[in-house]
Subunit: 300 residues, 2 copies
């Protein structure tokens, strides 16, 4: 199961009961938090996110609407007696801010907070069933996107055929990953004789805040679900560019060129009370687009 | 007009839709913010506080539930194009935190933020019609209470009598402050012959977070309205003391010994969903007690 729950879909200035950016990624029974604007802990309470399940936190950049809620969340986790460690991936300077805030409060968190500064594109976390990587995007300050990928076998065993070819069960795990089987009597059983193609691994890419930048296409190529910011409607392209943000049309163009499965747009400017036009404009270019709505979980 | 509006009445861990500490003091047409827990800017929007009227901000101490919302509020004020200066009074270390957060975001506020570190007890701000002073309280970290006092004439002119004694209108301002009048022909007109006693100046004292400490009594003596924290019910006195907090009974005892006009209690622990017992217990010792309820304005 791969899914994303939107906790905040607005840009910097809170408005119309929309909140600054925060998303929770569900990967099987693990939760990852991506960005953490002010009020994220309240949004988590409202939408019944189980904080104890969060093992990794990823912060895209150090504009306040993407991290001002983090210190409050960490402090509350501490007050609630959390002991499980947390891995935090963020631009390097965040560590000094958190350290200073804990120090002046004479507070020691009761859990280990492992800080991993983001320094280059590539894999950040790799476990048996998933990996998370980061890629650079272009914003007014250092900014990173994140890519969550399931890792799962590429082939599905056909038990009857495997039995017929006398492949032992001990070799099944290797079969799932595409290996051919060589029997004790040196007979070759080709993988495709005893397996079918597996369901494809899914992936979710989060583009953070970014100006229109075609270098992102390579980073999010063919992902199942792409979240791309669309701060403005398409008539505001000049303002978007000046502020290192994107329009609906630009977000949809990236989605189309990257041939993603589906596009989710968010980070709406406080200029806009109604959001219908965002959906309409994006769908003109990339039909399979949805608005990121707070409290909604989008299954990948 | 002196009044206090409660924006947050809970202790550190948000619970039961109660928020961390923040209060807005209205003094005539000026607003002062006292403490600024996470989410204060949303609470201001909810309760229609006019942010543009806030000229001074006072932060009692650097536990997160009293200041994590400040950087978001300041940033939002900047995004809204504020140009009026703000005076910020807080423990010295807050400046480094704010500076660092603005620096990593490559943000310059479009208004002057004058930082005044709290270093000793005494008057912080003095204008024609009010003054604000600070006093030390005892908490786990450096912590300050604040006292807001109206400055107003002690006497009210009796126009008929003033006319009868031929006191010129140009001397009326001095009369209001208690001066006797000496006529050109050297006749003394005693102040009380031509004035009545004025309505007393009002005052509001905020005790911040504190353990039970009778030194506070002198600082808040006879104030019109005292806000004193009461984190726990009276049966939890040991825990309160250990955590440098107070119980209902302790808050009410301070109010009684200081002979204040009225007591407001808040900073309720997240242990408690219902608050009735807080009121009941405090009133057993100091009858004129009210609970600090979010969204309510208490006129002094």
């Amino acid at each position: 199961m791969l899914a994303v729950t939107i906790l905040g879909n607005n840009s910097a200035l809170p408005a119309f009961d929309r909140h600054p950016t925060a998303q929770v990624i569900t990967m099987d029974d693990r939760l990852f938090l991506v960005d953490c604007g002010e009020g994220t802990q309240s949004q988590m309470a409202k939408y019944k996110i189980r904080r104890s399940k969060i093992s990794h936190i990823f912060i895209s950049h150090l504009h306040g609407d993407h991290y001002f809620g983090l210190i409050g969340l960490l402090t509350s986790m501490g007050l609630l007696g959390r002991t499980q460690e947390i891995h935090l991936y963020a631009p390097a300077a965040l560590k000094s801010i958190i350290d200073l805030q804990l120090q002046v409060a004479d507070t020691q968190l009761p859990f280990a907070l492992h800080f991993h500064p983001l320094v280059q594109q590539g894999v950040l976390v790799k476990e048996n069933t998933f990996e998370v990587s980061c890629f650079q995007v272009q914003h007014r300050v250092e900014c990173w996107g994140f890519h969550f990928r399931e890792i799962k076998p590429i082939r599905k065993i056909n038990p009857e055929k495997a039995l017929a070819y006398q492949v032992p069960a001990s070799f099944f795990e290797q079969l799932k990953w595409g290996a051919d089987y060589l029997s004790k009597t040196n007979e070759l059983v080709k993988n495709e004789w005893v397996t079918d193609s597996g369901s494809p691994a899914k992936s979710y890419a989060y583009s953070a805040d970014t100006v229109y930048d075609e270098r992102i296409i390579e980073s999010v190529k063919s992902c199942s679900l792409l979240y791309h910011e669309a701060t403005y409607l398409k008539d505001m392209e000049d303002r978007a560019t000046k502020r290192f943000h994107c329009t609906t049309a630009q977000a949809a163009t990236i989605a189309k060129k990257a041939q993603v499965g589906k596009l989710l747009i968010g980070h709406f400017s406080s200029k806009y009370e109604r959001l219908e036009d965002f959906e309409k404009e994006a769908r003109e270019i990339f039909a399979n687009t949805e608005l990121a709505i707070e409290g909604v979980t989008y299954k990948v």
